[in-house]
Amino acid sequence: MSKKTQRSNNLKRLGFWTFAWTLSVALASFGGEFLWEGNQMLNAAAIGLNLFVGILMILANRRLIENLDELEKKIQLESMGLTLGLTLVVGLAYSLLDITNVIPWDAEISFLVIFMGLCYLTTTFLNSRRYR
C-alpha cells in the first residue's frame, strides 16, 4: 500500500472515530434526559462507552501521526506544544477569573475545548505556511 493511500485510510479512520466519539458525547449528555429517564446504570454505561470510543479515537490519531513524514511531524509537534501551553495558561487564567468573581458567569469546560480546537487549527495553519 502506498504512503498516500495509507494516510488517506488513517485520516478516514480518525474521521470515523471522531464522529463516533461526538455521538457518544451526545448520547451520554442527553440520553438520560430523553432516552432512559435518568437510569443511573445506563448513564454509567453511556459514559463508559464514551471513554472507550474516546480511547479508540486517540489511537486512530496516534496512527495517523506515526504515518506522517518528518516535516509534518515537526509541524504537528510545534502546533500541539503551543496548543497545550496556551490551553494550560489561558484555561487556568479563565478559571481564576471565575474563582475571584471577576467574571459574572461560570468558567465552563466547553469554552476551553473550543479554545483548544481554535488554537490547534490556527497554529497548524501558521506552522504549515512557514514551511511552504
Binding site: K4, D69, E70, L71, R132
Partner: protein
C-alpha cells in the same frame, strides 16, 4: 544546510511529486528542503542521495551558522 536537489531534479525532469513519492515523504517536505527551510533527517538525506546516485556530501553542504 545548502543542497542541490532542485538542480538534480531538473536534470532528470522529475517533479517534486515524483521525488516525494520515491523518497516516501510529502511534496511539501521536498519543497521545504529545496527552499532550505527544513533540514531532512539523515535517513531521508541518504535516500535522496541514493536516488540521485551521488554521495550525500555532493548534494548537501553544511554551512556554519545555519540550523
Amino acid at each position: 544546510m545548502k543542497n542541490r536537489i532542485r538542480i538534480l531534479r531538473a536534470e532528470r525532469n522529475w517533479t517534486q511529486e515524483n521525488l516525494a513519492e520515491a523518497v516516501g515523504v510529502s511534496r511539501q517536505t521536498i519543497n521545504a528542503i529545496e527552499k532550505e527551510k527544513f533540514d531532512p533527517s539523515l535517513p531521508t538525506a541518504f535516500r535522496i542521495a541514493r536516488l540521485f546516485g551521488h554521495p550525500i556530501e555532493e548534494i548537501f553542504q553544511f554551512e556554519n551558522g545555519n540550523s
